[in-house]
């Protein structure tokens, strides 16, 4: 494909979509698929055909629209009126959507707020859940079909790559540095800097790896991006490769995400056929291609050196750094590992420019962040917010509080590596620095809400148990330390713990943080330490009086 063809194809696709009076996009991500999304699409198409409306109404699948707890969702885009969202659609309700809303609109009516049977299924896009979000990474989720390359092109797809192909490697790295984008996997290292380090290493072979091993239990941002906008991640990878003069690309995706794997493989096939991936990318004479590798269920493989070992077909155990992967990574060649969300951001940055991206967020944390909002929260799902928004706005305004008579007690960000943040600190803005100051971390984007009935000891124990189970066992601080803290925590939980146990937990935790080989062990004590910091009384209430313990 020649660069100019991108516009021609985009224009053709736009014209095709505009020829329809109404466009219905139904969520086709894993969550909604399990509630019958495929059947809904089939039923909608059948009903439209029966009513001879199929030339006027288009039906497609789309990526996750966010409100997973109310899925499957359908978004309706019609001429001369606001977009409308329908929630909790069942395969049987599909017919009603056609009868009560779609058919009248095709007939010339305007229905911005349906009455009748669909009244309870109506969701206003002006509601805070939607209105307060700023969708950059998820911008195509809800409006375009992830299985069609043309739909991605219609929204400016691969234009970022086109621009990157006219720039030098150094210029692309500088653009990324200027944008202020930081790694969305959790650690927050500036992406431009990471790329520049890899770029400067001279080598005939260089690898770019996409880390799609979303291991945080309770998070599904990366799954939703891979499923909802696979081409955006591929484009981000191509740009990354260009910026570092890389020669090979690898997608490392969790095997537990079959649909994400399927979508990426399909998108890669489409991109190869279109000449966007392969020997001659966009007719530039530069060639680049990808391989897909599956994870096999190991949390530690989210750590880059462990991930690299896994790509090499070995046990996923980390190794000491330096040498950093930028110097010696996969097969001892320079390697750069990037998170899914980071790469999706890259495509948008090259498309719209560094200044546009840098205008969002706080001084040191630019852009937006996708969070998976789960636990005891009314609006369960996926949200993308600008950095700098407060936790309270996310949890209470967007999330709608607990939705029950119970009060929110705390949230946990960063999954098993993060920490708990009590309710009185919810006015903190979301940024890498602020969350770290609170003893938690940004993490990859899991945000779990617990209410006043939930026990923080129990939650801390859950995370620690997870880390102990997932520890690869290579280094002693993580392997032994985790198990020891777990034992002490069990004693406290069943009421036989003493103050000495609490003291020791802190001591062992410090050793783990300082001496563990990789981030898994270094961060494993975070949940328990933050629980101790903010909710110490919950622990002390359960302790044995010292005198009794001595006796």
């Amino acid at each position: 494909m020649k660069p100019e063809e991108l516009e021609i194809k985009a224009a053709a696709e736009k014209a095709k979509q505009q020829a329809f009076d109404v466009r219905l996009t139904c969520c086709s991500s894993t969550g909604c698929q399990s509630s019958g999304a495929a059947q809904i699409i089939t039923n909608l198409k059948a009903e439209l055909k029966a009513k001879q409306l199929d030339t006027k109404v288009q039906v497609t699948g789309t990526g996750c629209m966010g409100l997973c707890s109310k899925g499957p969702l359908i978004r309706m885009t019609a001429k001369n009126q606001k977009d409308v969202l329908f929630s909790d659609i069942k395969p049987e309700t599909a017919v009603t959507v056609v009868d009560e809303v779609v058919a009248p609109i095709v007939g010339g009516a305007t229905i911005e707020r349906p009455t009748g049977a669909l009244e309870t299924h109506f969701l206003d896009l002006d509601e805070p859940f939607f209105a307060m979000q700023d969708r950059v990474v998820l911008e195509n989720n809800g409006r375009s079909d992830p299985e069609k390359l043309e739909e991605y092109l219609a929204h400016g797809g691969y234009q970022g790559l086109r621009r990157a192909l006219t720039m030098s490697a150094e210029e692309i790295c500088k653009e990324l540095l200027d944008s202020g984008l930081r790694g969305r996997g959790g650690a927050g290292f500036p992406t431009g800097l990471k790329w520049d380090l890899t770029r400067k290493v001279q080598s005939d072979v260089k690898y770019v790896i996409c880390n799609g091993d979303e291991g945080d239990p309770g998070a599904f941002m990366d799954r939703s991006v891979l499923e909802g906008d696979p081409h955006a991640v591929i484009e981000g990878m191509l740009i990354a490769a260009r910026a570092m003069n890389a020669t090979n690309g690898i997608f490392y995706i969790r095997a537990e995400y079959p649909l994400a794997v399927e979508r990426i493989e399909k998108a890669l096939r489409q991109a190869r056929t279109a000449g966007l991936v392969g020997k001659n990318v966009l007719d530039s004479g530069w060639g680049f291609d990808f391989e897909v590798r599956l994870g096999a269920g190991a949390f530690v493989c989210g750590e880059e050196t462990a991930l690299i070992a896994s790509v090499e077909g070995k046990r996923g155990t980390p190794r000491p750094r330096p040498p950093f992967p930028a110097v010696k990574g996969l097969w001892n060649q320079p390697t750069c590992v990037n998170n899914v969300e980071t790469l999706a951001n890259v495509s948008r940055i090259l498309l719209r420019g560094a200044a546009w991206f840098a205008s969002k967020g706080t001084e040191k944390s630019k852009g937006t962040k996708v969070f998976a909002l789960t636990g005891k929260i009314k609006n369960n799902g996926l949200v993308e917010v600008p950095m700098g928004i407060t936790l309270r706005q996310i949890v209470e305004t967007i999330g709608g509080g607990t939705g029950t008579e119970r009060k929110i007690k705390a949230i946990q960000t960063g999954g098993p590596s993060g920490g708990m943040i009590p309710e009185h600190q919810f006015d903190t803005p979301v940024s890498y620095e602020h969350l770290q100051q609170l003893g938690s971390m940004m993490g990859s984007g899991g945000l779990i809400v617990i209410d006043d009935k939930d026990s923080v000891i129990e939650l801390a124990r859950f995370y620690l148990d997870f880390c102990v189970d997932e520890s690869c066992g290579k280094c002693a601080p993580c392997r032994i330390g985790g198990t020891q803290i777990l034992k002490m925590l069990d004693r406290i939980e069943d009421g036989t713990g003493t103050l000495e146990d609490v003291r020791k937990i802190r001591k062992v935790a410090k050793a783990m943080q300082k001496a563990s080989l990789c981030a898994l062990g270094q961060t494993a004590p975070n949940p328990i330490l933050s629980a101790l910091k903010h909710f110490e009384s919950e622990f002390t209430e359960r302790l044995q009086p010292v005198a009794t313990a001595k006796a």
Binding site: P217, A219, E256, Y257, P258, G295, G313, K314
Partner: protein, 185 residues
């Protein structure tokens, strides 16, 4: 906790396309991956995708064909949660034990299923019909608590609904129907 995940069957990396004659499956897999560097895990995914688990004989055969020592294969198979060494039951029920599900009571759901099926977590029923396991996050946290049966997700389960779940599995019907029936009763 057994953390093997059942969705293997739906991962579509397997299927080496149209082998010319009905050849030995394992040799086909070995042929496909042998020349690709570091592809042992992918070959094992293919193998488990076909057989449901990694039997010892097959591992030995794969090792010989790919020129990989058996110890290396076992090193990998035992490290990763995804790979199974024993044949699972016909219906593999994977209760998600991720944080969101945990908070919404996946523990009780698991206990209910243990009682219903009279097996412990990580075991199969004597007739090999059901295999019950707790698994890591399946990434559908919006539908917590949930379970996947042979890769099919049953979401928004009621922690006391284990009975219905088993029925739905047998009839291959979505769980939504069970909710409605429960409401009608």
């Amino acid at each position: 906790m057994s953390t093997a995940i059942d969705v293997t069957t739906t991962v579509k990396v397997a299927a080496p396309k149209a082998a010319p004659a009905p050849k030995d499956e394992i040799l086909v897999i070995a042929q496909k991956w042998k020349k690709k560097r570091g592809s042992l895990i992918m070959a094992l995914h293919d193998l488990q995708g076909r057989l449901g688990f990694v039997p010892r004989e097959s591992a030995m055969k794969l090792g010989r064909a790919m020129d990989v020592p058996l110890a290396r294969i076992y090193e990998v198979v035992t490290f990763y949660n995804y790979f199974k060494l024993e044949a699972p039951g016909k219906y593999i029920i994977s209760v998600c034990t991720g944080t969101a599900c945990h908070i919404k009571g996946s523990g009780e759901l698991l206990k209910g299923l243990e009682k219903e099926l009279q097996v412990s977590e990580g075991q199969s029923t004597p007739d090999r019909e059901y295999h019950l396991q707790g698994v890591r996050c399946l990434g559908c946290c919006g539908l917590a608590p949930l379970a996947a049966v042979n890769g099919k997700v049953y979401g928004k389960l009621n922690t006391s609904e284990s009975h219905y779940l088993i029925e739905r599995i047998q009839e291959d019907k979505p769980m939504v129907v069970a909710h409605e029936e429960a409401a009608a009763e």
